[in-house]
């Protein structure tokens, strides 16, 4: 089954990349842009039929590898089976 993991910089943590992009969008005339935060989008293809178990495993993957708990938050979504 397919899982989408989203990893974002913690709210309080500086996101220089997001700032730079916001700055450029303004320069390009997109004045309506107020804030930009940039994170990772991770698409996992896993062999697992049980959603429960899948969720538990992905949770563990995020904690151990996919997200850096010190500066990042994560959330994920299991694609409708």
């Amino acid at each position: 089954m397919r899982v989408h993991v989203i990893v974002t910089p913690k709210r309080e943590v500086l996101d220089p990349q997001g700032q730079a992009v916001a700055h450029s969008l303004h320069a390009l005339g997109f004045a309506e842009v107020q804030e930009v935060r940039i994170g990772k989008f991770i698409e996992l293809e896993i062999e697992e039929s049980d959603r429960q178990r899948a969720a538990a495993r992905v949770e563990e993957m995020c904690r151990r590898l996919l997200a850096n708990g010190v500066i990042e938050d994560f959330r994920f979504q299991i694609e409708g089976a």
């Binding site: 220089p16 990349q17 730079a20 992009v21 450029s24 320069a27 390009l28 940039i38």
Partner: protein, 243 residues
Amino acid sequence: MRWGVVIFPGSNDDQDALWAIEQVLGETAVPLWHKERDLKGVDLVLLPGGFSFGDYLRCGALARFSPVMDSVIQFARAGGLVWGICNGFQVLCEAGLLPGALVRNRSRRFVCGMVNVRVETTDTPFTRLCRRGEVLEIPIKHGEGCYVADAQTLQRLEENHQVVLRYVDATGRAVEEANPNGSLRNIAGVVNHTRNVFGLMPHPEHAVEKWMGSDDGLKLFQSVLSAQRQAGSTESAAVVPGH
């Protein structure tokens, strides 16, 4: 000849390009601040290496929208010589002046060191003084130098001899072990179809003094000079829009 060197916020090798042009070649270099559209009548625009705008989002993606780039794009379309080194190459791809894109190195690590590149065509203003098949020793230093393009584009590049440089081993063979970043077909540098816009990942401006390692990069600078002399330097600057 007047060499324009664009300075973006985050350009680092701009100073090295200026050094090579002024101190080594003894030519006139004109710094071009990214916020200004005026190209000051230069005969060539060089986009230097570095981390323009921190390389945030994608390398070259933000620099591509600096005011100066509008003029550079017009200049290139009008046949003016435009030369992108490393980050400059990335900017040119983002700006659509060169085909393809440069993505993260296959190793996922920044890589700095000397490489061998083979001259694939001398039919460009940037390599006309080289020999075809000649191997040049020039350093690289980048984290996103893996050249990619779709099959048709690669096909076209090969057919029109737009691949200018390829990573090779010391004996000149374009083998996988000689490929420092995973670039498709070991491509290190390409020109556009009108052959006036050139981008490469290696840093010729860092190979201009033998006693410091290599002066093979000088050949590229000197090629441009001779091309310019032959073209009879006058026009190219004159056709620049905004003058």
